[in-house]
Amino acid sequence: MRKKVSQQPAKERIQNFFEVALGFTKEEALEEAKRCLECKNPLCVKGCPVEVNIPAFIKLIKEGKQEEALEKIKEKNNLPAVCGRVCPQEDQCEARCVLNKKQAAINIGALERYAADYGLAASRLPLVVSKNGPATNDQRPATKIAVVGSGPAGLTCAADLAKMGYRVTLFESLHLPGGVLTYGIPEFRLPKKIVLSEVEYIKGLGVDLKTDSLIGKTYTIEELLNAGTKAIFIATGAGLPQFLGIPGENLNRVYSANEFLTRVNLMKAYKFPGQATPLSIGGKVAVIGGGNVAMDCARVSLRLGKEVFLVYRRTENEMPARREELENAKEEGVRFKTLTQPVKVLGDEKGLVKGLECLRMELGEPDESGRRRPVPVKGSNFVLDVDTLIIAIGQNPNPLLPRATPRLKTNEDGTILVDEKYMTSIPGVFAGGDIITGADTVISAMGAGKKAALAIDKYIRDALFAKAKGVPK
């Protein structure tokens, strides 16, 4: 039997911001690890965007060697405590597990988290130098590389480059590192203490973190290049929030998911007034959207003691959120209003939200995404009685850096244009993560950071070392 991770009971957890999933005990981890068949040709590894040697680390857990298990994971994954919590394993490594044929996949995510938390609890932060990377070249420490953005892609790329021996400066515009891991994902899914510990590990690799540094404003890309930076990795993530484009969207108490989550997660508005950042919120909240971010907004609102509706224009089956998050949200008491399309935000005389006018929908023919297209039911307008609105329907790429960098080419949708090696239109400047793909998962951003680190290393060796004095390619 696949071992499930125990959770705080729903009734209790909606009263606090502590982690929902409690993680494996040592006994549970051992028991689950024993189920691994140690496949010779492991398919799970192929399902992992950063190619963690999953059977090898599980074997070490089985043998009671937690520390070694963590080192094994860290050969490939710089953020295991994060990934163990927020990766959609069910679509990746676990989806490929051969045990799926007979029973259920190994709980790889929970085992990864177990090994990572063991390491953090014991303050053992192994420093692993990549064994698979190209041989160390003594020119690397003199080679300056800048990484822009300290979210999952930036942290991963910076860590990998530091492991190769490069001098890496990691720029973050906010006052705290972590990007979406810090401002976006709530405490109860990913404690900020965990994120900061992972960042400490990466700083321990020699990465120089500079917060309060907005590239494009504080420094420009051209200035970094002129100051002797040999390569730059842009990982600025998804940016400007999208809105619905319906009347009343700029009324007070209409928030983008980004603003709502940033106030609560980064600025800790739930501890107001102890923390100075406020949040103005009524008693009944409608969250628009069906992805993980929408679930996060809904579950945060519940924990603030609100009645919460999740408004989505298709059905639960089409929601892009992880099933686990969807189930958690339902169990906690979020009321799903599916096949519902907002058409107008209603306001009172003070300009505060006093209701959301919606249309009922029905599913028609499949659209280009293969999902059945929602079609409005004529005359089905009704008003949802809410006083706060959170819009979680996605983001557009942040235009700030491209605007400040004329040589940097973008695609029509505003994402940064890169070639297959993650290189942008400026030689030596690379980009990866949400800024090239649009909003995606933490792990795919990490995968991009990893591949970009290899591409940057190759670029530097080809372009610079070779030129310098015949260092073999």
Partner: protein
């Protein structure tokens, strides 16, 4: 860590501080702003840059002690640190040699219009300044404005200094004089920064005279880097973001009532903090 190196009370309500921030001082341009957090647990607030000195590596901030954080900031002294400062942010004001530019500043907005007037003067314009406040002590930076303006007009609501009335009264007279004259022409641009009702009134007046008007907005912001959308405004019916699209916008197209309303969102919460 950015240390305060100088502090001066310009009035009971308005304080000037000079803060170490070499990188920002080296790059700042007129019209830009910064975001600061005073200490652990503090909120992020945007403040327009009143001045900067790249040689000394310092920036000048002038603020009215009206909110939780500005009151706290006003309580700091030389030697005290400000934990985080991010900047310079926002598009700089578009400064060209246009001919005649009228720079209008109201209250603490005078501090913000000052570097803009200096930039327009530096670009070769004839600069007319109009600065106003509720009373004499709120009319700040008169000396500095006199240096950057070819002509300077001062108004106070209570008549305790300069002309009794509003900045729009002075602007009306300037336009009126042009209207009556056969050889003078309207200014090419009016640049205005101050309380929202003042910017609205100025923009309505200049619209009647069809004089291009730029206003600098001060919406609520959180990250101020184009991520949260708190600072959204409506310009010509379209949603724009104060932090990455602004802070300067066309005064004839901006929805001032919406801006005014959105600025009041946290009034209740502010009360609970103080």
């Amino acid at each position: 860590m950015n240390k305060i190196i100088f502090k001066e009370e310009l009035s009971n309500e308005v304080t000037r501080i000079v803060v170490e921030a070499p990188q920002i001082a080296a790059r700042a341009q007129a019209g830009q702003f910064i975001v600061l957090i005073i200490d652990e647990g503090g909120e992020r607030i945007p403040l327009t840059l009143a001045d900067w000195d790249s040689g000394k590596g310092a920036i000048t901030l002038i603020f009215q002690k009206v909110g939780f954080t500005t009151k706290k900031l006003g309580g700091l002294n030389p030697g005290d640190p400000i934990k985080h400062i991010l900047g310079p942010l926002g598009h700089p004001t578009e400064v060209k040699n246009l001919g005649t530019v009228v720079c209008v500043g109201g209250g603490v907005g005078i501090a913000e219009v000052y570097p803009v007037s200096r930039a327009f003067k530096g670009a070769g314009n004839r600069v007319i300044g109009i600065i106003g406040g509720r009373s004499k002590e709120l009319v700040i930076l008169e000396k500095e404005m006199r240096q950057t303006c070819d002509e300077l007009f001062i108004t106070t609501d209570d008549g305790s200094y300069g002309r009794k009335g509003l900045v729009t009264d002075e602007l009306k007279d300037i336009f009126g004089a042009v209207e009556r004259s056969t050889h003078t022409k309207y200014p090419e641009l009016v640049y205005c920064i101050g309380p929202v009702p003042m910017m609205k009134a100025v923009s309505q007046l200049t619209k009647d005279y069809q004089v291009k008007t730029i206003v600098s907005v001060n919406p609520i912001m959180v990250d101020a880097t184009g991520m949260c959308g708190a600072c959204r405004c409506t310009v010509a019916g379209k949603t724009v973001f104060g932090c990455v699209d602004g802070p300067d916008f066309d005064g004839h197209a901006l929805d001032f009532d919406e801006l005014s309303r959105r600025l009041k969102l946290f009034k209740e919460e502010e009360k609970n903090k103080i």
